[in-house]
Symmetry: C2
Subunit: 333 residues, 2 copies
């Protein structure tokens, strides 16, 4: 019998989530049934998109159920197997995060080939966030020679990969983030210009100052005033990859109203929202690029790590306070 602790959604957050919305529960796992395996998670991820799943609304991903363990990416090790395709000790990746251990049908779990990278990078730079950056920049915004690139939320898990891919392809890159530590981090990964949005009264003026020629590509993670600034500073033919708008996820009243969308007409701008899971056909290409870049030292990653399943809700909440630099992770074992 394996004991596992898990985080359940206790109540649906209204506005910014609080610790009270979550509860820690302990379950006992039986030995895995026929065709099942038992996995102990070593790492789990917390990501901004999970906020949407805490609402009871129809979206591309169904809402979390109240009173049940939440879901999300995790890597771990097989600790018992009742299926011939897995052996004890196999490293695996799954969507059974927010818990220390679980039983699952063998088909619901993937063996993880790490290409020599640390396993938790498959929750970050080599996983969903990294692929989101790669797809958004190269497939949605269709980065091309000479583009000046602006990335909001640039110090986050996705943004910091966007910055580095654009830099290693030779582009001028402007990043925005909140706070001096993140500014220093973005400079350290090669960002040409950094806007500390918390230190600016007028984001459009700030972007105009650091990008006097304008921008061609905007990778949108933040929304609100950032979107207006990007529209105002975009050059004709600009392409916007809309990955997320974290500033709006906890809005309870009216959303921020975008004033400058009209500029998309005269400047022939293209704005495209995307969900990385609709682009998994590019996974082999992404993994080839990413393993090459990381092996050559061209792409670095930074992690903010909290330890223990009991701290997973707190780690999730840090995302909305901007308390993470790079990938926010929870180490479980």
């Amino acid at each position: 019998m394996t004991v596992s602790r898990e985080i359940r959604l206790k109540s649906r957050p209204v506005g910014v989530p609080t610790a009270d919305n979550f509860e820690l529960a302990t379950v006992e796992l039986p030995a895995p049934g026929a065709g099942e395996i038992q996995v102990r998670n070593s790492w789990m991820t917390v990501d901004p998109y999970m906020r949407g799943r805490m609402n009871d609304v129809k979206s591309y991903s169904p809402p979390f159920a109240l009173g049940e363990a939440m879901q999300g990416g995790a890597v771990g090790e097989v600790i018992a197997s009742n299926d011939p395709s897995f052996a004890v000790g196999d490293l695996v990746q799954s969507f059974f995060g927010w818990r220390e251990a679980f039983n699952a049908p063998a088909g619901a779990v993937q063996k993880l080939d790490t290409f020599g990278l640390p396993p938790q990078t498959f929750l970050g730079v080599a996983g969903m966030p990294g692929m989101t950056a790669w797809v958004g920049l190269l497939k949605i915004a269709a980065l091309k020679d000479g583009d000046i690139v602006f990335v909001s939320g640039a110090a986050g898990a996705v943004g910091s990969v966007v910055v580095q891919i654009a830099k290693l392809k030779g582009h001028t890159v402007i990043g925005s983030c909140g706070g001096a530590d993140k500014v220093a981090f973005l400079k350290s990964i090669g960002c040409d210009e950094v806007i500390d949005y918390k230190a600016e009264k007028d984001l459009t003026a700030a972007l105009g100052r650091v990008a006097p020629k304008g921008i061609d590509v905007y990778f949108e993670n933040v929304g609100g005033e950032h979107m207006d600034a990007a529209l105002a500073c975009a050059r004709p033919g600009g392409r916007f990859a809309l990955c997320g708008m974290i500033s709006q996820y906890n809005a309870t009243g009216e959303m921020y109203g975008i004033k400058n969308l009209i500029q998309a007409v005269g400047k022939s701008l293209k704005l495209e929202g995307f969900i990385v899971s609709n682009h998994f056909q590019h996974l082999p290409e992404f993994l080839q690029d990413m393993s090459g870049w990381t092996k050559d030292g061209k792409l670095k990653w930074t992690e903010t790590v909290d330890v223990g399943i009991e701290n997973a809700p707190g780690a999730f909440l840090k995302l909305f306070k901007g308390e993470n630099t790079g990938k926010m992770l929870v180490k479980l074992s």
Copy 2:
């Protein structure tokens, strides 16, 4: 010596233009010089995009100069020629609107092959507005089988062509317009559902009511609340062709703020602004389609006609009061 009257921009409008912003002037045209021709305009067009050229701001089209005749599409007849490529009586198209007659280098004027259509249709259904509809719907929104199409400003020069192209290609089409006469007009050209935005308190609710399955394509002519409604009702994978936002052209304070752009992320929507002049490579294909459709009686046009150069400013102002159905034109001779 030919006498011509012309409309000059007297002062730059702030907000909604008024008659005081324009002045009527009389000029005497000498005989055309070597390589020049003299043209008497029979029709000129007024279009919403001209409002932008009345502001002194950088855009895709330079501002009109104060104290000089404005410019715009016109069709007319050669009345004197000092160039071997044109003969008196030739029907021509030019950008020398807002005047009764003009001299111009032969290379600045195009002979007009009407394909049997009335010449003024080349300022409307077979001209810039028609091609704007065609490009926006077929090339930008990339209309495909099964798409449900929503068009704002549907009773206007561009919108009424969008409605008809979408209908003749077999689509369900929802149009919005202001007033009962326009509703009747849209029903007469085959629109499946019509929203009278002036009669609705909540445009999103109205669109949801007439498009319970949602929309796949939005052809944007109006902006503001229309854009929020389209974003709210869009189905995943929706494509928005951003042609114009007439509701915002005369804004003096803050623009309307779009609240629902965040939905572009989760629904993977693509919003693309365009300027028809960037797509003139499709002109032969457009003319072939349009002459075929009009000859077969599949595509009809409606005109609102004012007479006389002195009434051109008033005709222009009608566009912003929604007093035109179909193409707003000024007959000059």
